[in-house]
Symmetry: C2
Subunit: 449 residues, 2 copies
């Protein structure tokens, strides 16, 4: 039977980062990828006019040092996301234009939103990032959903609606679908709520020329034949002697394995011996968010002529988070937006044509009639993807962190867990994925030194 | 390739009930069972003294017409659970004896608990059992966890602690791990909270002589060679022509397939074409409860001498729900009890010896020093079982019913879903499992009539 030092399951950023680090340290590696492409939740597409566009994770920003260094090492370039002009918040039947910290809310509501925002920020600072379940008061923070906390914190209806939009914008899940502790952990993991929602100075600051999938493609090119596409792993057998990984049509043995696929999918491999109960339970309780992403191309970024940045949040619509996603060379105008959480679930029951109408109708409400005439519309439903089953990432409902947190990233013998959801820094982001790959690789190198 | 009319995956009550009904209607059936035994979450064990004892689901009661009729058809007998004498509720460092509706709580707290109990009962009556997501106010009921509702309903600390024990006693999950809507649905599904917690007149009224696993064993005996043990299914391919089911070492084709395993495990099969997003999401969000069950044998049921029924609830201990589980012939005394929810998770990190000490120590607090000298102790950690991965059953966290409820029991082409969690009547109970098997079989018979 074929033997390598390490088998990596999944050729997304986490798996490829691990494989690259291991290979550079002299290990032999095989990366098994179920799809016919690498890059996982990064995915490059091309508009009819030839302009490349990201249908998956696409932004990087300050503090994301691991992925930024990797981008640089691989000879890729970033450029700033478009972030000039006024933003819009739509509520109560009208668009509200703003270019300050008000998010377009009326003065008293903006003040109250700011107060809640500060309360979150202060709470998040308390979280012990490496072991959230040991945070002071963790039991109480984890017993509540974020929505529950929000309702206890404010009675302002508009502010409640506003945060019930912010949560899906970050998690593709509703405010009641995650625990307060998970929300706070995630905030601190990406530094702060301020940083997570910001473009300039924040998590949406920059884009990669040509698309973020190129990061994975360049790593895969370095790894050459070690990356095996169309090779879905199905099981892992572990013994004192090593691991044997089953895949469609074969088996391969190794000293260690890195499972670098989303947690919910990691539960779908068959393990022998079976995983410990707590580790199995993690895979039962790390559901992915729900999102359908759209990129809509226009001849020009016409909204800029009106002094708009393209950034919209709407408390009234389904297609409720929109940004300017025009390419680096400004060869056309692009708006990107998302159907998130409950809106993704409801709209997945529509036909593609109905969804397109819904999206364009909402854009007309934001930007006027010119929005009704795109030159191309691209859609990606990440929940329908067999080998992802949801984006942006997994989140933890009330109770999971305190019961099972320990099992998320702790190796089980020769099995190491990677993926954006296993990182304590920039959890859920591309940077977290890269860091998780390095962490898993370093643990294997330590064990074999 | 071998062909049968219907393949059933899972030889628990749901799968075997479906197979039996289909066979009686003239269909050829193959039942694929991963384990080396049938009966799933029913499991018979034997004490050192030869007395059989149930390590899984064990009680039946009035209103559970499907399973009661089946027991009768199969020539099995039931007998009443022991339910004479006083019960104990332990809190604030002492046991409180009662034989009324007070649950041993002090008068004012008992009154408040009764008021909350009535509020739950009234709310549950509103639930639309067949389609809980269309219940009036479903969005609001599903947005809250049960714990959140409880905290809004009462400020009585003892009453809060009491209901935070009742919930794991029913779900093996904590009050914040399920939505209010799920709790209410489950109550109404089993008629009412009164019925679910009661012995005489309720869900714990009767036991099956020899153990509940005999129900499955007798059905399997009828089905003969159609039941294939040690045959773990791994995937289902569906086309216009039929289905092909992959299992360890082979494949079998059929016109229809019944997936009669817990929802969380149903997600671990590989489906071609992939399941619709909403159906996949159900399997990501139907985690099983956490329970370690103990049966402790004594020479005699000595607690009866003190006028005790053996029923204990404790707000102070980990091993906090205990009942008399002595055999029909009273050839020895048996106490059954549970480490549930967070206590199961925490105690799973102990050694078996430490857990035994914990359990016996708690029993001594309830019943005195005689409890320290059992003749046998049997333990079953259902979360460690590869082909169950948790008991009593799956539950739905906040938001899941309203987003995905429709997908729980709706067939996907030729694939039918069965199992206790897919039943609208006695959901999560043996009776619900049997009904779900009949429902799936009837749908197939309808489709092929």
């Amino acid at each position: 039977m074929e033997h390598v030092d390490v088998v990596v399951i999944g050729a997304g950023l986490a798996g490829l980062s691990a494989a690259r680090m291991l290979t550079r340290a002299g290990k032999t590696v095989a990366v098994l990828e179920a799809r016919d492409r690498v890059a996982g939740r990064n995915h490059g597409a091309v508009f009819g006019n030839g302009v490349p566009i990201e249908m998956g994770g696409q932004w990087v920003g300050p503090g994301q040092d691991a992925v930024l260094a990797l981008i640089d090492e691989l000879g890729l370039k970033t450029y700033p996301s478009y972030d000039s002009g006024a933003a819009l918040t739509y509520y109560d039947g009208a668009a509200h234009r703003y270019d300050d910290a008000s998010f377009g809310l009326p003065e008293p509501d903006a003040v109250e939103a700011g107060r809640v925002w500060e309360a979150i920020t202060a709470l998040a600072e308390r979280v012990d990032l490496e072991t959230p379940w040991t945070t002071s008061g963790a039991e109480d923070l984890d017993r509540q959903t974020f929505d529950q906390w929000l309702l206890g914190e404010t009675t302002n209806a508009l502010v409640i609606r506003f945060f019930r939009l912010i949560v899906p914008a970050l998690f593709s899940a509703e405010a009641h679908e995650l625990s307060l502790l998970h929300f706070l952990f995630y905030m601190k993991s990406g530094k702060s709520l301020d940083v997570l929602v910001a473009t300039t100075g924040g998590a949406q600051e920059s884009r990669v020329i040509g698309g973020t999938h190129r990061i994975s493609e360049r790593m895969a090119a370095e790894l050459g034949d070690a990356v095996r596409l169309d090779t879905a792993a199905s099981g892992i057998t572990q013994s004192d002697a090593g691991v044997v990984v089953d895949f469609d049509g074969g088996t391969i043995c190794a000293d260690h394995v890195v499972v670098a696929i989303p947690q919910t999918l990691a539960g779908r491999l068959r393990y022998s011996p079976p995983l410990p109960a707590a580790r199995d339970a993690v895979t039962q309780q790390f559901p992915a968010g729900s999102v359908i992403k759209f990129n809509i191309a226009y001849p020009t970024p016409f909204w800029r002529e009106d002094g708009l940045s393209g950034f919209v949040m709407s408390l009234d619509h389904a297609f409720n988070v929109v940004l300017d996603n025009s390419p680096h060379d400004e060869s056309c105008g692009v708006l990107v937006g998302f159907l998130e959480g409950r809106h993704a679930r409801a709209s997945s029951e529509l036909t593609a044509e109905q969804r397109r109408e819904l999206v364009l109708g909402d854009l007309v409400d934001y930007f006027g009639e010119r929005a009704a005439k795109p030159i191309d519309v691209l859609e990606k439903d990440w929940n329908a993807e067999e080998y992802t089953r949801g984006c942006y990432g997994g989140r933890l409902a009330a109770g999971v962190w305190t019961n099972y947190g320990k099992a998320v990233a702790t190796p089980v013998g020769r099995i190491h867990w990677a993926g954006a959801e296993t990182s304590d820094v920039w959890n859920g982001y591309m940077d977290g994925a890269v860091r998780s790959g390095y962490r898993a690789a370093a643990a294997i190198l330590d064990a074999t030194a």
